[in-house]
């Protein structure tokens, strides 16, 4: 085995994996940064999209498009529903809201198993996407390459919305100082609902397209949630660029890390998280974005 096979292939795998996790984690970090809502049902929205792909796809492009549309729509609707559900608990603090989303995630997870069984399901993608492509002279799964392209486009589009539009500016203003955003006449609850719906749509979209990478199964939701939480913590709560770097890092640890340090791989993620948390504790401020009083 040459270095290409040994390192390049896992590295590209890590990029695909990292981009997938970034599309999911971006919504999670924004909802937390903007309104302190830690949406523990976020992984479930990914699972819903993944099941949509597993159930609807039959190898045709139309079915794939239908699965993506279904996953995105269901994710957005579920995100908006979560916004409605957590709104009455806003005055009772972030823990109550997080617990509610956790309860919703448990119930939804049980319902998904009831509906689709306890086996892992695989989507059937159009044959063209299943063709291997050449990567530095080696065969590489074409679907992963295509996924990297789509996820990169989505990440760039999301970044443009966040940094170039008035809606994005309102969202960043809410991360900075929600009281002052209200004082200029914007309803912070409407911003949170929009963030949860958009984040849900992104998670559902990622689930529908990412099902061949992280498939639909009873453990999908908790695995995606756990990795997303690690990314949100590593990247800094509320920071989208931080989440991007952290997601690529997590993707590399999960793929390249296994090749380079097979014995340590299972501990690498959480060791990295501990190091980041300790380092940040020393700097003290900056963990929670907030207003300047």
């Amino acid at each position: 085995m040459g270095p290409v096979e040994t390192y390049l292939i896992p590295a590209v795998n890590g990029v695909a994996y990292g981009l997938l996790l970034f599309v999911v984690a971006a919504g999670l970090t924004l909802a937390f940064g903007a309104a302190g809502v830690l949406n523990l049902a976020h992984g479930t929205l990914y699972a819903v999209g993944a099941y949509a792909a597993a159930v609807l796809t039959d190898g045709s492009w139309l079915a794939l498009a239908a699965a993506v549309a279904a996953g995105t729509t269901l994710g957005a609707a579920a995100g908006a529903g979560l916004a409605v559900a957590v709104a009455p608990l806003a005055s009772r603090g972030h823990l109550s809201q997080a617990l509610l989303t956790f309860g919703i995630a448990l119930v939804a997870g049980a319902l998904l198993v009831l509906a689709f069984g306890a086996d892992d399901l695989r989507p059937v993608v159009p044959p063209v996407l299943d063709q291997p492509v050449s990567l530095a002279g080696r065969a590489y799964p074409g679907y992963r390459m295509a996924f990297i392209a789509v996820a990169a486009v989505l990440a760039v589009a999301g970044w443009a919305v966040l940094t170039r539009t008035r809606a994005g500016a309102r969202l960043r203003a809410m991360v900075d100082d929600p009281d002052m955003l209200a004082a200029v006449g914007t309803n912070p609850r409407a911003v949170l609902a929009a963030v949860l719906a958009a984040g849900g749509a992104a998670a559902g979209f990622a689930g529908a397209l990412g099902a061949p990478i992280i498939g639909a199964g009873p453990r999908t939701a908790e695995m995606v949630l756990l990795l997303s939480l690690v990314i949100v913590v590593l990247g800094g709560l509320g920071s989208v660029p931080g989440a991007f770097v952290a997601a690529i890092f997590v993707g590399q640890v999960q793929s390249l890390g296994v090749v380079l340090l097979p014995g340590l791989a299972p501990y690498l993620l959480f060791a990295a998280m501990a190091v980041v948390l300790l380092g940040r504790h020393r700097r003290s401020s900056g963990v929670l974005p907030g207003g300047h009083r």
């Binding site: 008035r166 500016a169 309102r170 960043r172 203003a173 991360v175 900075d176 100082d177 009281d179 002052m180 955003l181 209200a182 004082a183 200029v184 006449g185 914007t186 309803n187 912070p188 207003g291 300047h292 009083r293």
Partner: protein
């Protein structure tokens, strides 16, 4: 314009404001002076909807806004320039202006409707900073931005909480000139300050707060005739002898006196305690 009826308010677990009565007419400046902890910020935040009101009423042009959420008060015409400016750290100046700008709300209202280019004419310091983010601005620039941000919400009432805090005297004077200009355009203005003499330069009325209570009441002609109540109330607050009364008083507003002339006179009046 603004009327507070026996307003009580406070943060969780305590009342910081005990029954304040206050009236601010359109086109006038009402100064709230008092030491730290006197309840100035609580009063401003209660009017803006950032602190819950436990008793009493807030009326804006006769309409009760006591229980409206903060963003609806902003749309109803309450503009806030908070203590410490609180500009959005990660937003550029242009983005501040864009998200604050609301148009066409008060058509036919005597208060002029603001747009970003008018704000930049009023606050030219911001024009060269449009692409800079909030956290990179100087204190004076942040204060201008906080004022511009509030104006773009098309306020009828402008609340400024310690706008001169931490600014060089020249900038503080500039802020006070701005306040006079804005009141001249028909805005009702409430401005707080720890030192009474500063807002007195521009204020038509002044209320002294101590420990969340009003100390006394007087108007311009009353103060001109007899400065003793203001003297006494100011003296109590500025010397730290915080007591439980409040003075509302108006500085001697003789037609020819400039703001700075008035400041000088008031300072003399109260024994140079500024």
């Amino acid at each position: 314009m603004l009327r507070l009826d026996s307003l009580r308010a406070g943060y969780a677990g305590g009342t910081a404001l005990h029954g304040v009565h206050l009236e601010v007419a359109a086109g006038t400046v009402h100064a709230i002076a008092g030491a730290n902890g006197a309840g100035k910020t609580t009063l401003v935040h209660a009017v803006a909807g950032l602190v819950p009101v436990s008793a009493g009423r807030i009326l804006l042009d006769g309409e009760e806004i006591t229980t409206l959420p903060s963003h609806r008060r902003a749309r109803a015409g309450v503009g806030l320039v908070p203590q410490g400016r609180r500009v959005f750290a990660s937003l550029t100046v242009a983005e501040h202006l864009a998200i604050a700008h609301r148009s066409g709300r008060h058509r036919g209202d005597p208060v002029s409707t603001w747009n970003p280019s008018q704000v930049l004419r009023l606050l030219p310091q911001l024009a060269s900073r449009l692409r800079h983010r909030g956290h990179t601005l100087s204190g004076g620039e942040q204060q201008m931005l906080a004022i511009g941000r509030a104006l773009l919400t098309q306020p009828r009432l402008l609340l400024l909480d310690e706008p001169a805090e931490g600014l060089a005297p020249r900038l503080a004077t500039h802020i006070h000139d701005l306040i006079t200009t804005l009141a001249g355009r028909g805005l009702g203005v409430v401005v707080t300050s720890p030192q009474p003499a500063l807002p007195l330069a521009v204020a038509d009325h002044i209320t002294i707060l101590a420990a969340g209570r009003q100390r006394a009441t007087a108007t311009g002609p009353e103060i001109a005739a007899d400065p003793t109540p203001l003297h006494r109330a100011l003296h109590h607050t500025t010397t730290g002898a915080v007591a439980d009364r409040t003075t509302t008083a108006t500085p001697p507003a003789s037609a020819d006196a400039t703001g700075h002339e008035r400041t000088r006179r008031i300072s003399t009046l109260i024994g140079g305690s500024t």
